[in-house]
Amino acid sequence: MAPETMIQLRDLWRTYEVGGRPLHALREICEQIASGEHVAIMGPSGSGKSTLLNLIGCLDQPTGGSYVLNGREVATLTEDELADIRRNLIGFVFQSYHLIPRLTANGNVELPMVFAGLPRAERHERASAALEAVGMLERAGHRPDQLSGGELQRTAIARAIVMGPQLLLADEPTGNLDSKSGQQVLQLLDGLNDRGLTLIMVTHDPGVARRADRIITLVDGRIVSRMKGSAMGDINPYIGAVDSGAGTGELD
């Protein structure tokens, strides 16, 4: 049985008004992402990677075209319906973690459930399970300022998965981490993907991107290439071809 389509983007545009002139952050994006896929989005700075991720995450709305998520046209949804989708269907992982400093790791993981109105006992149980899954259970009582970068990101991943989402969106999740912590985080994300979670990750790092099933490369808001992750080859992420977009030509 073919995996069902989760995300269907058709001729998607995102245009900002900057100084009275239109700025096209995304143009003519057409893409399908199946349930359970692992997709990496690459491209130079300002190419629209994050904009695309935010659109997919329902944090932003396209200015043109259509975005169908799980069979529902996102443009027709109300603000509250979008909030519910973000809460129940989507988990976000950010480069800078975005943990609330005054809350413990456990408190941060419980946050989405607080807004979902889950009872306290259930929240605690699910937060513990999520923290255990990312190996942070024994650090659950610590505040963000007492945790290392890798621990912060693992806590953030626990928060992203605690509501049992179908789609995990990660924006440069290893961008602030040393390579060892980065590897741990990537393994964690791979493991979640292996268990059926759709994973879409924005990254600069070809070494990160090649773990994906597919790599989509954006330049100036357009998809300029699609390739299999395994086709990325053995590019040393620390030498060349990073961020400049220079690699896109040969990838095409």
Partner: protein
Amino acid sequence: MTFFEVLRFATAALRGHGLRTGLSMLGVGIGVAAVVMLTGLGEGARRYVTDQFASLGTNILIIIPGKNETTGGLPGIGGVPNDLTIDDAATVLRTVRSVDTLSPVAMGTETVSYRSRSRDVMVVGATSEMQQVRGIVVRSGSFLPPGDWKRGAPVAVMGKGIAQELFPGQDPVGKVVRVGDFRTRVIGVMAPRGVSLGIDFDDIVIIPVATSMRLFNRNSLFRVLIKLDPLADSEVAKADIMATLIERHDGEEDFTLITQDAVMSAFSQIFAALTAALAGIAAISLSVAGIGIMNVMLVAVSERTHEIGLLKAVGARRRQILVAFLTEAVLLSGAGGVLGLGAAWIAMQALAATYPAVDVTPPTWAVLAAVGVSLVVGAVFGVLPARNATRLDPIAALRS
């Protein structure tokens, strides 16, 4: 998201910025304390004055000579006031059934001396009925003797203070003192009473009214104090007294009849207005505190844009974010209100310990209003920052 959860979230957020939270709580606290204490003082003053009037006893009527209004007609034809005389008073006592008792009163300042000691004091001319009308307690000797009001025996009753000054260490009863040019025998000393209705009872000498009018060389009384029958209808009594006096004064209403109630309510109104004015001044400080809260919340929102963006990303609805920030503001001002109440309570305890005579208990409405207003202040001044929070673009908010 339950109310308790919102509260916990807001409390944690406020605790995260202890100093800022404390300072804006202080602002509200000062406002609330000001409202409570100033209204307490205003109310205390009002109660003090009305108690003074109440101490007159109930059902008191006062006749004052003269009419405080413009009369038409030519001078000399109408509006010439007749004297208010002892006979007027006697007639009212005799003919108006609802009058329990009454005392004509004359008043003046005279030198009272005993041997080498002398003092200028207030001399009150009255009759034996005065004791009942004003509830005077005599400590030693007796009050003015009953009898013909117009006879005027050469006797005097002293307040405690003047007795002590003229007769240190002695009982003045039986001694002869000079009151002005008259020699009078002291027949009684009143028990200490203090100031009542602006007259220090410890510092007066009471002599028979007829004696006093000769002494002051006056024909008109200063007042007639009337005590009504407790069961009498004061309106009917007033009308009867009016009719009696007008008839005696050739159809002229050249006197003023005031009831204790009227005086009391007039003073009460004045002090209520004063209290309201004080509350208004205090309310200004509360609104200033409200602006302080708005400022703190605006800072909180701009400082916590990441957090707000994150709340949106994890699926918090607009309304939930609004409620969370509004709760924070209300909690901030409410806690300040409680703080202010506590401070006001302590200050009033200290005041009560220092000046036991002054009752500064604030009215219940002021306490409730101050706390209520502090909460409303939080809600009103919290709306703008909270709405700013919900309107944040999550993408911009999350961008580091």
